[in-house]
């Protein structure tokens, strides 16, 4: 099984705070991290390799510093890593991103499975996985929570949907996106850290990928962000007073008055 895992470098948003004076995101001291959902994708890739043999290739598209996430991937299960980086890729929406990733995966050529995290924590779109599958013209399964079996060019998986679980069978190669329930990612090993430190990570640019310049970056993006603003949170809150008994009483009265109960 040759497995490609797609990773994205994102700001560690749990640390994102809003500066009350300027109403902007505070960026100081925010580390870039591997998109948390992608760590489950990598771990699953490593586990499949351990079960069935093969190779895990980690790829990431981003600015030069996105190499950091690939080093991390090499320390936690990836055998090799490739960075897709070119100023021509900047400003990509999900359509342009999935096109670029697809070009890279086609260049890797020998692959049986592509694994992505279900969504990133910055964009939250969950669109790159399914769009990538169409660009590669191979099957797609979202929200995978368990890989039951891989046999004879087919894979059976369980996935989570709104009201339960589905069992799906897909021929390979395929693209899947995984949810956090699928595994617990391992910590880097000493050997892994040493390997990651010394590894040479090739960078594939627009030229190496042979991309159509009109299909990458801003020119290849169908969508444009025209405005960014902070959500208006209405702080209409009332903290109830008195003994707990009185508060409970008063809450019920208020909800009844509003005909909510």
């Amino acid at each position: 099984m040759n497995i490609v895992v797609c990773l994205k470098q994102v700001p560690g948003t749990t640390q994102v705070k809003i500066d009350p004076q300027t109403n902007t995101l505070v960026r100081q001291g925010i580390k870039n991290i591997v998109n948390p959902f992608d760590t489950y994708a990598l771990e699953e890739g490593a586990r499949i390799k351990e079960r069935y043999g093969g190779k895990v290739t980690a790829i990431s598209m981003g600015p030069p510093q996105a190499e950091e996430v690939l080093r991390e991937a090499l320390s936690t299960g990836a055998d090799q890593a490739i960075l897709l980086s070119d100023s021509a890729f900047a400003g990509s929406d999900t359509l342009a991103t999935s096109y670029t990733l697809a070009r890279a995966i086609n260049k890797i050529r020998e692959y049986d499975l592509v694994i992505c995290g279900r969504q990133t924590i910055d964009g939250d779109t969950a669109q790159v996985g399914p769009e990538l599958a169409e660009m590669l013209e191979i099957p797609f399964v979202a929200y995978v929570s368990q890989i039951a079996e891989i046999d004879n060019g087919y894979m059976r998986v369980q996935r989570m949907v709104e009201d339960g679980h589905e069992v799906i069978e897909t021929p390979l190669p395929a693209v899947i996106t995984v949810v956090k329930e699928i595994n617990v990612p391992r910590l880097p090993s000493l050997r892994g850290l040493a390997k990651a430190k010394s590894a040479v990570i090739p960078t594939w640019t627009a030229k190496e990928l042979g991309v159509d310049k009109n299909m990458v970056g801003l020119s290849g993006s169908a969508t444009r962000v025209i405005k960014i603003f902070f959500p208006q949170r209405v702080y209409r809150g009332e903290i109830l007073q008195g003994s707990l008994e009185n508060q409970a009483e008063s809450l019920i009265n208020k909800l009844r008055e509003a005909k909510l109960i």
């Binding site: 300027t22 009201d163 020119s219 025209i226 902070f230 959500p231 707990l244």
Partner: protein, 392 residues
């Protein structure tokens, strides 16, 4: 293409720093410097009094096809029943279609779907209905092929679908085949009448910021829309047409096979359909304590929700999780018990009509979005509420 500072004009005044939603601008050697991550939103340019910030956007050369007209709503059905989000999208779609002076169509796939005429009552002028046993369950390959084919044939200018498990999985595939733009999980839709564009607004960064997005030159403009953000609005005396479409069996084959579906039976009342949700967080301490919330939920006819920690610890199944990686809900009443209110949780519930927070930490962020707050021990307050409601 990109953004740059004209060093001759920049005075280093710093007026551009605060407006940048990403905090990417700093003053280095008395000149503004823009760090990596800019998406050309233009906020800094507006703030600059010296015309020192230049944005060269891509020149849109492709002509917009005038032949694309009409708004489509993908009406999702499960086991022959239409979903609430279908009606919500039609209600908003009706207003958008009237603004654009165009028709509103629903597209529906499935087998033996009941009450299809309701799609007309909620605003559709036409319903394209593909009824075939092969489409009875959510066979995403078939749905992808069929929707793509119909869009190519009829050329709508806008296609909307619910941001459900199904919608967020197969709609991106349709967009990729059509090589058009898709905006995920929108919470607002408006029309720019002058340019005939759909203004699609959605949360990003776990709900910390909102972004308005357009798809300028490609058609259709596609968006998935969060359930329960638009109100259902049935219209009296509407007439429309139901057009039966033959399923093109030869045209598409399903590569993936849906072998089985196991429904999550603990979910008595589905949280996405519930008017009242009683939700628990880490403050519950252990799985057995959900019993307290179940009792309160039972007397109120409410569904049971959860923040992420109880799901991570296996106290309650994932289908109950509210938040960025769970469900986004918008009930009339949301009662948060022992939930601190991390941004990821707020992203999933802050649009609820009325929010009640019960937490013993007066500084918990949940109180910032709460309509009514009780600072106190949930183990005392919740049973008290249950008793009082029982005794009414």
């Amino acid at each position: 293409m990109g953004i740059r500072i004209d060093p001759d004009k920049c005075t280093g005044c710093g007026d551009c720093i605060a407006p940048c939603p990403f905090g990417l601008i700093e003053i280095i050697d008395e000149k503004a410097h823009i760090n990596e991550g800019c998406n050309l939103c233009g906020a800094c340019q507006e703030a600059c009094s010296y015309d020192a910030i230049l944005i060269e956007a891509a020149i849109e050369t492709a002509a917009i096809s005038d032949s694309h007209r009409g708004i489509w709503v993908f009406a999702e059905a499960k086991d022959g029943n239409l979903k609430s989000v279908d009606y919500e999208l039609l209600s908003r779609g009706r207003e958008l279609a009237d603004t654009l002076k165009t028709e509103l169509c629903a597209v529906c796939f499935g087998h033996n779907i009941s009450e299809v005429e309701q799609l007309i009552a909620y605003g559709a002028d036409k319903v394209y209905l593909t009824d075939d046993p092969a489409l009875a369950s959510h066979q995403e390959d078939l749905y992808t092929g069929e929707l793509t084919r119909l869009i190519q044939e009829h050329k709508p200018e806008i296609v909307l679908a619910g941001a459900t498990s199904l919608g967020r999985s197969f709609i991106p595939r349709v967009a990729a085949i059509l090589k058009t733009g898709l905006t995920a999980d929108c919470t607002e839709l408006e029309i720019d009448t002058e340019r005939r564009l759909l203004l699609q607004t959605r949360p990003a960064f776990g709900g910390n910021i909102m972004a308005t997005i357009i798809c300028q030159t490609r058609r259709p403009q596609m968006a998935t829309v969060r359930p329960r953000v638009f109100k259902k609005n049935p219209l009296a005396g509407r007439k429309g047409q139901i057009i039966k479409v033959d399923f093109n069996k030869e045209g598409v084959t399903s590569k993936t096979k849906l072998l089985d579906f196991v429904e999550d039976l603990t979910e008595r009342v589905k949280i996405e359909d519930a008017d009242i949700i009683v939700s628990g967080g880490r403050g519950l301490d252990k799985a057995e304590n959900f019993q307290l919330l179940e009792e309160l939920a039972a007397v109120m006819g409410a569904a049971l929700g959860s923040s992420r920690p109880p799901v991570d610890d296996g106290w309650i199944p994932y289908s109950h999780q509210v938040g960025q990686t769970g469900k986004t809900i918008c009930p009339k009443l949301y009662i948060a018990c022992g939930i601190s209110g991390a941004v990821q949780h707020l992203a999933g519930m802050q649009t609820s009509d009325t929010i009640v927070a019960i937490n013993n930490d007066p500084d918990a962020p949940i109180f910032e979005v709460a309509t009514y707050g009780i600072v106190g021990d949930l183990f005392e307050v919740v049973p008290m509420l249950t008793e009082k409601l029982k005794g009414r």
